[in-house]
């Protein structure tokens, strides 16, 4: 984003110009918690070997989104944040990835009075007003802005995902949970790959088993307890050995539509995902859980940032 112009305009309209990148600028906010899931495979959680990695049948597409925010000024003590959100689907054909759907938006986030005061300087940015129900608190406002940007980015991913599904019935791997969209959650050819384990579905011995899966193993299938909006089936899959690394190293959570939540499907999808471990996305620090296709979408979106 070219923010210098916005800042200049803000300066001339009496807004205090700021130049800061919040620490949540390009990542999603999550709280650690335990939300018990409900086992749908077997009577107790166990690690199941998925077998030899297998190539995913083509075509396969990846969906991901990116976001980037920056504080551009303060009206009084109310911050004004400008954010860019983008999402895209890149489809793999003959081992090459090609962008098939892409969306990009530019937002201005702030309290209504701040946005009104800076309206002249914000041009065509999409205005995202924050709730004005509490007294101004810059840190809290920033946290709320982060949440708003995150939601908009998630919504944009859904738009992009639907547009892809409208044009193709191929497999779609989504970076993150499926439950943001009931349509995804019901789509038999959409797979969510979640790298975050902030919300854990088990406790005690089951959690031990869940988090200490050996490489090439998946957990029993369960129904996440947090997914009231759109029920899905999920399991954990260890892509890389964690021994000698962190407990969460190489551990991803897979989400699929309930129709795919059977043992055989889970094993097959897991084998396909095992094959997607390569090419590795190092030196990205998330390489143990970041599939190359997802990484490619991120790279693509970032390099095309305006």
């Amino acid at each position: 984003m070219k923010l210098d112009g916005i800042r200049r305009a803000l300066g001339t309209s009496g807004v205090a110009v700021a130049r800061a990148v919040p620490d949540w600028s390009s990542r999603r906010l999550e709280d650690a918690s335990i939300k018990p899931g409900h086992l749908v495979e077997g009577t107790h959680l166990e690690g199941i070997p998925v077998g030899q990695a297998e190539s995913w049948p083509e075509p396969l597409a990846y969906l991901d989104g990116v976001q980037r925010s920056e504080i551009v000024g303060y009206v009084g003590t109310s911050p004004i944040i400008v954010a860019e959100i983008a999402a895209a689907v890149r489809e793999r054909r003959r081992r090459q990835l090609h962008t098939v759907v892409e969306e990009r938006r530019h937002l201005a986030v702030g309290r209504p009075h701040a946005l009104a005061a800076a309206a002249g300087a914000l041009g065509n940015l999409e205005l995202v007003p924050l709730p004005d129900d509490e007294p101004v608190h810059p840190a809290r406002d920033l946290a709320r802005a982060a949440q708003a940007v995150d939601q908009r980015r998630g919504a944009l991913e859904i738009v992009v995902g639907h547009r892809y599904r409208d044009r193709s019935d191929g497999w779609l791997v989504v970076d993150g949970p499926l439950t943001e969209s009931p349509r995804w959650a019901a789509d038999a050819r959409t797979v969510g790959v979640c790298r975050s384990h902030s919300v854990l579905p088990f406790i005690g011995a089951d959690l031990d088993c869940y988090l200490r899966l050996p490489a090439g193993h998946r957990s029993s299938i369960y129904e996440p307890g947090t997914r009231s909006l759109a029920p899905v089936r999920a399991w954990a899959l260890r892509l890389w050995p964690w021994e000698g690394q962190d407990l969460l190293h190489g551990l991803v959570r897979i989400e699929v539509a309930p129709t795919q939540g059977l043992s055989e499907s889970a094993n097959r999808i897991s084998r396909w995902l095992m094959a997607e471990r390569v090419p590795v996305t190092a030196p990205d620090r998330r390489w143990d859980c970041l599939l190359y296709g997802i990484h490619s979408v991120e790279q693509y979106l970032r390099t095309r940032a305006v």
């Binding site: 793999r92 081992r95 390569v278 090419p279 190092a282 030196p283």
Partner: protein, 646 residues
């Protein structure tokens, strides 16, 4: 111009910025771009032409370790990765030309297209000398890239003078670079040399084997060669006028060349020189230690006062000397030594020349007549190039392959000097002469003594262009040739090169990729430097339309060396096909060979209608020149104070 989609895009970063002389661009993984490809960049009103000098490919992998990790240490698994890594093809190009040329600015971040025919003309500045009224373009080859093929022209003002001149060719042997390139280019020059530039001829020194022995014989060309000739606007045909000169073998009648097949004898004749021709270039046969003012003065004395005119010194002989041959000169020296011997003490100096100087000059001159027997005749009858009547578009090949190196130097020095003299006087018969010398490293080595030939080559390379005397030279290793000689060559051709040679300083300006391409150039492709081209350009050229040496030798195998009478008969048959070997054998039976050689030389020089009768008549009378008796040897000097030391 921009109807076709671009094949790349200029990219500039802080580490790899665009400059006025270089830029970088990326392309799709599959593109027609290769090292040497010419490209066009367009951005706004600015057009930049460049030639690709280097290429890079890399992926988003930052460490090979990640690749190992990804395939669990098994290389065979690496190929099974479901997604191919993002990969870039990045090329570096050197700027050939910018339009507008001023102000000269860094290359803009524009789209990149593969150059079309028109682009190639513009990029290489050929629009300045082709396609206009007094065009001076000489086709040299085809630039080819991405399915496009464009003729490339040299500017004859810069190839044959007067703006710049000379051509140097470098390349390893046996890969159709040096000889083939020269044969093709000479053919091209002869066909396209513009009329307003006057006339042109070539003198080629054949220094090894049968390389240039079949320039008048057509080659069998394949359809691809013919297509290339047509694309270049040339007619594939051998040279129309070719004359071969070769020294005789020591027997004085057999030619010392591989072009002795009787079918080719019509335009092959002996190169024979007498004392006069040698004496003028005596400096060539003197080594560095010999060259001093005293020896020079004595040689000048011989040349100006003795050789070719009556010289009387009653102290030596009452009858005037008429020195016309080495035999006459030997007699002259003998008289001097006899006279000084007779003087006894005090007989060290004759006419201000010390006897040691005289002895040295005598030894050197008699040495050349011995070592170059066949080239140098004792009897004074010479057969030389047609000085003054060189024909336009003619090639004169002098075959010195079988000669002693000293004699090669002599031939080379004399021919080039004569060319220069005649061109200075504008009476050679043509306005421009291309002199082709192979193995230049032998005649103008980077190291070694500063010989007469090397000095002469240097002079030719530095001043020849003003006269229309142009040096086309070739060698395997450019680094082994005197730098100023090759440095003065306005145009350079590089065939496949040896890696060691490419590692020398002379190639430091070439990119590693260009060097690799040079080291692996296929037959018929070469790299070209020319004053109008700001960067080297790769071109391909068709096979020369003349028979190559291998095929020539197979089709026209050299005749066996004949016995003296048969060799004489064969030479006479070149003048008169009716002459029979039997008749000649009978005629010369019992004659001295020297007499026969004189008669043959006289017949050859006269070229009478009835050669046999003329030859018979020559044999019947005393031919000019006299027999020299057995050499008596030079008497030893008495104890004298020799200023030259031992």
């Amino acid at each position: 111009m921009t109807a076709s989609p671009p094949i790349g895009r200029v990219v500039a970063t802080e580490l790899k910025p665009s400059t006025p002389h270089q830029f970088h661009f990326w392309t799709a993984r599959e593109s027609p771009i290769g090292i040497g490809a010419i490209v066009r960049v367009e951005e706004g009103s600015r057009v930049v032409y460049g030639v690709v000098t280097d290429g890079f490919a890399y992926s988003d992998l930052t460490s090979p370790l990640h690749a190992v990790l990804g395939s669990e240490g098994d290389p065979s698994l690496a190929a099974t990765e479901p997604t191919a890594r993002a990969e870039i093809r990045l090329y570096t190009a050197a700027v050939l030309r910018q339009l507008p040329e001023e102000p000269l600015q860094p290359v803009p971040l524009g789209s990149v297209w593969l150059a079309s025919d028109t682009d190639v003309i513009s990029a290489l500045r050929m629009d300045g000398y082709t396609g206009r009224e007094r065009a001076t373009g000489i086709p040299v080859g085809l630039y080819a890239a991405g399915g496009l093929e464009s003729p490339v022209y040299l500017d004859c003002d810069f190839l044959l003078g007067p703006e710049a001149a000379h051509l140097n060719i470098t390349g390893v042997s046996g890969l159709a670079t040096k000889t083939s390139a020269v044969e093709f280019l000479l053919g091209s020059i002869f066909q396209t040399f513009p009329p307003h530039k006057g006339s042109v001829a070539a003198v080629c020194f054949n220094v090894k084997g049968p390389d240039l022995c079949f320039l008048d014989q057509p080659a069998t060309l394949n359809p691809e060669d013919l297509r290339q000739y047509a694309r270049l606007g040339l007619t594939p045909k051998p040279f129309d006028i070719v004359r071969y000169y070769a020294p005789l073998k020591p027997d004085g009648v057999n030619l010392n060349t591989l072009r002795t097949n009787e079918a080719l004898s019509g335009n092959t004749e002996p190169l024979v020189w007498g004392l006069r021709e040698v004496l003028d270039y005596a400096e060539v046969v003197l080594n560095r230690d010999d060259i001093d003012a005293k020896a020079d003065a004595f040689i000048d004395f011989l040349a100006e006062r003795v050789v070719g005119r009556e010289y009387l010194d009653e102290m030596l002989r009452t009858k005037p000397f008429m020195v016309q041959s080495f035999a006459d000169l030997e007699e002259f020296f003998r008289r001097i030594f006899d006279f000084m011997e007779a003087l006894g003490k005090g007989g060290e100096v004759w006419r201000t020349h010390h006897i040691a100087t005289i002895r040295k000059v005598r030894n050197r001159l008699s040495n050349i007549s011995t070592r170059s027997k066949g080239l140098v005749t004792d009897d004074g009858v010479s057969n030389d190039l047609p000085w003054g009547s060189f024909a336009d578009r003619s090639v004169y090949v002098i075959d010195v392959a079988g000669l002693d190196p000293l004699a090669q130097d002599l031939v080379f020095a004399r021919v080039v000097s004569k060319l220069r003299e005649h061109l200075e006087r504008r009476d050679l018969g043509v306005d421009h002469v291309v002199v082709f010398v192979d193995e230049l490293n032998k005649y103008a080595p980077a190291d070694g003594p500063d010989t007469y030939v090397r000095k002469m080559l240097l002079d030719l390379s530095e001043r020849g262009r003003y006269l229309g005397l142009v040096l086309f030279s070739a060698q395997q290793f450019r680094s082994q040739v005197q730098r100023r000689v090759v440095g003065n060559a306005g145009t350079g051709i590089y065939g496949r090169m040896d890696g060691d040679e490419l590692a020398t300083a002379g190639y430091a300006t070439l990119s590693p990729a260009t060097k690799i391409k040079l080291a692996t150039l296929p037959k018929g492709e070469l790299m070209l430097r020319h004053p109008h081209f700001t960067q080297p350009i790769f071109v391909k050229f068709p096979r020369p339309s003349v028979l190559n040496s291998r095929e020539g030798i197979e089709r026209f195998p050299p005749a066996a060396e004949l016995p003296f009478p048969d060799a004489v008969a064969r030479q006479l048959r070149q003048l008169d096909r009716k002459v029979s070997s039997e008749a000649v054998r009978e005629l010369i039976e019992g004659r001295h060979e020297e007499d026969v050689r004189r008669a043959l030389a006289a017949t050859r020089r006269e070229r009478p209608v009835d050669a046999y009768s003329y030859f018979t008549a020559c044999l019947g009378r005393r031919i000019a020149g006299e027999m020299v008796g057995t050499r008596r040897g030079i008497p030893a000097l008495k104890q004298v104070d020799d200023s030259y030391g031992s």
